[in-house]
């Protein structure tokens, strides 16, 4: 897979049916489209399912439009310039400029950055209603899609994303398993030679967890999360969440 993609191959294959049906969030749709355009893997089965979805429009009996519609359309077209004749052609920038760039928070302490992001994307209202949850999730996904690099993190404790944009890296997880009050999730970056660096922690598991990492992902090969009782210099247990970086 191309490292700069926000979704890995497994996620693309998983979401292919919903993508084919137009039933994914806009950020997911962009990520899947870009992945399928650039990934070295064939994704043959996923592409077949996407193709099959296109048949649904043809299960309907055609409805003959009114003559007036054709006349109106042709009149509109006659007076409408084609985009490439009015503006210089430019490459499409798939991810729109986010309204709130969380990574611009720079050197803010992790807890402050997390709180600021949570407030900015409205995560404080997470759980208020199903519709609100969906809208908020879309905001998170938009942030994921806008990142320079993003990797899916998954494991027994739940799933989420670890991502980096500019000089800031971030961990976002949705509904991590609740922990006893004397435990926390410790976040680790692991380099190719086995060096492990503690890069943050998650102490609140209610809803979406957003944590600004203390280090960039660059140079590390793996991101893992363990459950710890104390602040330790190396993981003391098995990872409950993992992402391969640069894969």
């Amino acid at each position: 897979m191309t490292p700069s993609l926000a979704l890995d191959c497994a996620a693309v294959d998983e979401l292919a049916p919903a993508y084919g049906l137009g039933a994914v969030d806009p950020a997911e749709e962009r990520s899947i489209s870009l992945h399928l355009q650039t990934c070295a893997e064939p994704h043959a089965d996923a592409r077949d399912l996407i193709d099959a979805a296109s048949l649904l429009a043809h299960t309907l009996e055609p409805v003959v439009p009114s003559a007036a519609l054709r006349d109106r359309l042709m009149a509109t077209v006659q007076s409408t310039a084609q985009d490439h004749r009015t503006t210089p052609r430019r490459a499409y920038v798939p991810a729109p400029e986010p309204q709130r760039r969380w990574w611009s928070m720079g050197a803010l302490p992790s807890a402050v950055a997390a709180a600021a992001l949570a407030a900015a994307i409205g995560l404080g209202a997470w759980g208020a209603s199903a519709q609100a949850q969906l809208a908020e999730r879309e905001e998170v996904l938009r942030a994921v899609a806008s990142a320079d690099v993003a990797y899916r993190v998954s494991g027994d404790a739940g799933d989420g994303w670890v991502l980096q944009s500019g000089s800031q890296a971030m961990f976002i997880a949705d509904e991590l398993d609740e922990l006893p009050t004397d435990r926390h999730y410790a976040l680790w970056l692991i380099q190719a030679d086995g060096t492990t660096t503690r890069t943050g922690a998650v102490t609140e598991t209610d809803g979406v967890a957003v944590v600004a990492l203390e280090d960039l992902l660059t140079g590390s090969v793996r991101f893992t999360v363990t459950i710890e009782e104390h602040v330790v210099e190396a993981p003391s247990g098995e990872p409950v969440l993992t992402a391969q970086l640069g894969a």
């Binding site: 998983e14 979401l15 292919a16 049916p17 919903a18 049906l21 137009g22 039933a23 994914v24 969030d25 806009p26 749709e29 962009r30 489209s33 870009l34 399928l36 355009q37 043959a44 089965d45 592409r47 077949d48 399912l49 996407i50 193709d51 099959a52 979805a53 296109s54 048949l55 649904l56 429009a57 043809h58 299960t59 309907l60 009996e61 055609p62 409805v63 003959v64 439009p65 009114s66 519609l69 054709r70 109106r72 359309l73 042709m74 509109t76 077209v77 006659q78 409408t80 084609q82 985009d83 490439h84 004749r85 052609r89 499409y92 798939p94 199903a130 519709q131 969906l134 809208a135 999730r137």
Partner: protein, 199 residues
Amino acid sequence: MRVDDARLADRIRSGETQALGELYDRYGATALATALRVVGSREEAEDVVHDAFVTMWRKMDRFDAQRGSLRAWLMTVVRNRGIDRVRARRSTVDVEEADERSLLRTGPNPTWDAVVTRTSISDLRAALATLPDEQRRSVELAYFEGYTYREVATLTGVPAGTANGRMRLALAKLRDALGGSSAASHVGQDATLSKKVTS
């Protein structure tokens, strides 16, 4: 993509309005059927079709035939425009942004255009009718009513993974029933899986 569709796209790209009219004559009725199914009102559906063809006209230079067929792109724009109208009641939508995403999409390969060409509507409906109710409902909620798979999960009272799984099974069965697969080696496996899950 049909060869004449490719030529039509070239002519539209070069600014020939008559070619756009020919595209409309070829697919207008199918487009209107889709729009009507989504928005429910004839008047609104005709507006959707009008806007979709204007989008074809404006953005044809950006259409990439390597990524999908002209027909599929048109139907995606029609569907998205219709869904946007339905969704506009509950949130702000960005039609331009949705059009840009439609240009990025991966669409059917030529094998599937051939399936559409050779398969009658009744055969397509029959294939759809063979689906278990919950699978058919899932794809219809998604495709025609514009719900995401997470919303479908909420509406049908199942986990998101189950909703997505139903969509997968439904599409795999349509694919198998119509024999348009370009990944033949996978078809048997999915068909077996479908039988196991639904039996």
